[in-house]
Symmetry: D2
Subunit: 384 residues, 4 copies
């Protein structure tokens, strides 16, 4: 199988998530990095390219130069897609430009800063036909896919209630004052967007809940707080949820919960059963059927469904984790791109990745939470 080639925008020295994306793509030997504009600082961009073994002529100081170079390059060497791992505020211009040029795009979340930008991206992508993936990486976990399949095939009946939490503690102090790079941009409205914790991790929680349940939000009631003095964006959010099918829910996203590491967890309660999943123990899915004891489903077991099976590399008990889930999102995008290149329809079980629509819905969620938090009305509707 020929490797797909990609360019990366962002992710240079000092960044965190760019390296994760690269490892995820490297893992299975199907995707290789060939070009980049790895930092907004041209010097750092080039140094980062050298460190990663990029050819000098394909390592650019500005993403516009990368794009221009790709457009004039010869077909044999051209990238198959671009991966955008910059701080949030750069997602929109970069994604739009590459998509307009007909290049496939993978973009980190939250997608963009506003629903207007999201709508504009949707229009561009519809015109260009680009594949567009959004790295809601947690949906790449096999047991999340199993949960989604179980809900979808009725294994827990009709969903009544959803509790989704993303508990972190790393911003319990004024870490951004220390110059820590991750804290710095995530707490800066200009680069992070409307929201802090709700944007950075609440959007993951929303996506996880929506992906697994297939439910649609009808209205929400949010309480956002800035606990750490001097901070400008929320570091804690609690949200009541109402879904269009009558289900209720709670979403909690916080970065000031001391001792919490990356504690994303989901509980889905149906009429005939319950599912529970924790990101920090990702190889297990708990299933409580109404008529029998709790069942502990583990990744790699023969009684799991096809979606989980395809997302699995190792036998049960040989744990897979964060990078593999990330890689699964990329493999989904890659399967879609390969199908298009081969002129065939993609197998939906292979081309399994979060789409532009997921990204747009996530942006709208952030906007609504911020709107609700500022409102004295109890419920902020998703219908308008």
């Amino acid at each position: 199988m020929k490797k797909l080639r990609y360019a990366m925008v962002g992710g240079g020295q000092g960044a965190f998530i760019g390296a994760v994306h690269r490892k995820a793509m490297a893992l299975d030997g199907q995707i290789e990095l060939v070009a980049g504009a790895l930092s907004s600082d041209p010097e750092r961009a080039r140094a980062s390219g050298r460190e990663l073994g990029l050819r000098e002529d394909r390592s650019h100081g500005r993403w516009q130069d990368l794009l221009a170079d790709e457009l004039r390059g010869n077909d044999d060497e051209r990238i198959d897609f671009v991966s955008i791992v910059t701080p949030n505020h750069m997602h929109f211009p970069v994604a739009r430009a590459f998509a307009e040029a007909g290049i496939h795009v993978v973009c980190d979340k939250p997608l963009v800063h506003s629903s207007e930008e999201a709508a504009e991206l949707m229009r561009v992508v519809q015109r260009s036909g680009s594949v567009f993936g959004v790295t809601y990486n947690y949906t790449g976990y096999p047991m999340v896919r199993e949960a989604r399949d179980m809900v979808s095939r009725g294994a827990i009946g009709a969903v009544r209630k959803v509790i989704v939490e993303y508990n972190q503690g790393w911003l319990a102090t004024h870490l951004e004052a220390s110059g820590q790079k991750q804290a710095d941009w995530r707490t800066d409205p200009a680069r992070s967007g409307l929201a802090g914790a709700i944007g950075d991790i609440g959007s993951h929680a929303e996506n996880l809940a929506t992906t697994v349940t297939g439910l649609e939000l009808e209205s929400i009631c949010a309480d956002l707080t800035i606990f750490v003095p001097g901070r400008r964006l929320d570091d804690d959010g609690n949200v009541l949820l109402r879904f269009t099918n009558g289900a209720k829910g709670v979403l909690i996203a916080s970065q000031i919960e001391v001792g919490c590491e990356n504690d994303l967890r989901l509980r889905v309660f149906g009429t005939t059963g319950t599912l529970e999943w924790h990101q920090e123990e990702p190889n297990r899915l708990l299933h409580a059927p109404i008529d029998g004891p709790l069942r502990v489903l583990t990744r790699g077991s023969p009684w799991l469904g096809e979606a989980a099976r395809r997302a699995t590399r190792l036998p049960t008990g040989h744990p897979e984790a964060f990078i593999e889930a990330f890689a699964n999102v990329y493999l989904g995008v890659a399967a879609h791109i390969r199908a298009i290149q081969a002129g065939r329809a993609a197998d939906p079980l292979d081309a399994d990745y979060p789409r532009l629509e997921d990204g747009a819905r996530g942006v709208r969620f952030i906007e609504k939470v911020v709107q609700s938090a500022a409102s004295t009305a109890k419920w902020t509707s998703f219908e308008d």
Copy 2:
């Protein structure tokens, strides 16, 4: 040590919680049952009395007869207190009558049906000087007391956030239609009160959170649901909390979460640490300090405080559980009664039990949740 003597009102054949109260009181050999009006059905009351070995003349068909009999009995045989374990609607008349008669009272929760009734009880008790305990039994767990002490001595800094949940699944179906006695009265507004899940278990959650943190509610925002068709009281509630010190919180109480047994759990996040406790693993308290690894505190360990120590019977690793916690509440009441009888002040570490004020606060909480659930205003204040 002379045993204290008590009478029980309610708790006859077919009841659940009455037997738990009796076992809790029997456990340590300090309290003995000598009289009762064990059922509102006089026949069943007497049969229950026989089963429990009550003397015929002290086993009554009506609680009024029990009270009258006590008032004319001779001092040597008189009860030291009454334990009220009836369905909720009987708490008020029985508790008021015994308290007015100067008899010490232990009453199950939720205390009464309205704040007016609670206020009336407070007046009566203030006049009579009766000891009045409310069986918020979960506060009797040693590790809950340790948590309370840790918060109080600043071990986690200032409390910023509280998440308290009481997850059950036993009412996920229309169980009351089967005639199951526990389901029957708990889902009946006439006997249960204003609320279903919020009254039955949400009030425990409120009490646990308030007891451990010492915080006071400023306002709440509640969403109550009746999921099971035909039911008349909420079987699910999600509540946003705001405390007067600026802390935020979430309270979840549900009886339709399939697979959940008696999953009361509390997380308290402070500026310098976090505490977490689960009722189903009651011998452990998790403590995450901001500057070190998670610590697993276990009941009976030498590094725990005096309140936890006094509530402990067995060495570490020899689990204690629900009945012992219940018994600790009763031992607290008993210590208070003994101190009064001896004409001395009670040691507060011994007379450690939920008071009438806790019960009244719980009633108000239920009222406010119901009021908020019916309101279109986002926040329902506790100040008016």
Copy 3:
């Protein structure tokens, strides 16, 4: 139901386990303490009796006086059984004397110091017809009984392997030098017997494994160690097991494993499934069937068997623990005594308690372990 009356030998002030026995018997209101010889020190015996509210004339300084008094007492007040909770070396003379007098006996474990003594007790009891229970209390846990039933009805196929462990750490230092009473007699050969850890807790492990599996030992290979300088009895033991059906096993008993509290745990591996139980989380039993996911069985669930059901007081999620398990052993003995007193056969599901045979087998196990530890032969047979 008329309460059974008992006398206690041992268990006075400063003892640990006597109070546990008393609480266990008090819990359900079916058994009451009426007499005792609570300490080998006559002064302490009487002080202990006063503390427990014994009548002065029934609180004795010597167990021989207690026995004599019972034999001349009138029938209405006579004890129904004696509970022996002394240090090990006193079990034999006291148990023999009471059994010879035709009084029912409950005796703590390890039963006696030698198989000769055990055989003598067997002869006495056979002649007198006394009920004789041995407080291998862990077999009173409902989920242990469920495990026993599951093995017995073939739920895991034929047993191939057993791993049983009893991990403690409280004797990791030379605690007996501090005068701590529990450490003092347990490390003294004169009072504890042939073995230390193997006698005190290894015998529980043996009993748990044998009770649940129904297997019989064929031979063993033991390695005993005294880790703490100055100690005279083993504080750590590791034993390979071979059962007569071809199953294999490992038994670990240690009191020097720092951080271990009372970590008794059992794994039973069959041809078609596995069971796992931990004493510190006693309300759960793990069942891994060969053809499906792990099932977490919880006490009180409707899918458990009758033996577990009868040993259960509270609904699922309301944890029961150590004292309830102890109480179940006593309720089993009580059911047997009541049946005899009523002249009927006992229901085996009610009269469910460890018998004299279990005690004798436990003594033999300790002897064989000590023999094996001293031997250069690999296998020490149980056949001779």
Copy 4:
């Protein structure tokens, strides 16, 4: 940083572990596959090479051809090392040949079939100066390295006892009869070697225990069993351990424990503390100090040591797993090779990987276990 180039022997279509090795090496972008002899079946070898994108002239049907080709190739394209992932019986000839040719080697475990072969390899490697790594992959986990460091710096005092287990259940039935490739060769003495479960996974357990504690075995007592009818090698083993420092231990390795997945776990008990680690939850290390509560150490925490830190890619709570641990072993080998190529001494914290000596010790362990299992003497010494 220039990528290191490697050739792989074994690991073609249908193999399991070869793909894991390749993903592990691909993960960090520092090592690339350039040549191979991927199967003992020449057709399958070439098909596998095409699938992995090997150049046709570097994909060989026989490992001898691969070696010959490497020896005549030009320096710029030559491999930096060979990775041997064949069934066990091929380890020796391949490893010896490449090492004799001065090529660096990474070889899977168990290293070879006999101590004679191991000694011969040692001689060859000593002459040639080749780097030689053995993929005891579990030692690549950051928390295993933390455990090793903690023991080594005295954090738990002197080690008294070690319990190491490797519990699996996948061979509880006669799976090899189905033609399953992994079961087939692992149960065949000609390809697997002297032992079954003890060789395949017991050797991992031995290595884990030895690596973490630094202790040396003095003697052992083993019981090996073939439970599944028709099988020719042990599928279950229980071993008592004695270390030269007086420490004791138990090693359990089984492949018939139904429901166990890849349950490698280690407990190390010292005079002042205990460590516990489970491979299926690899990001946590439990530490019980004698004078405080249990501490849960998590990968990525600031209070861990340098060895764990260097083996870590992601922040706490973003789980790393099996492949990352494998990759860490390869990064250790790569660091050593790079240092040699650069003519400098390797930083031992970077060149952290299991050596040929570990492999040889593992072979000797297997031999001794088999010898002990066949012996009627209790202890089989490691001194002769």
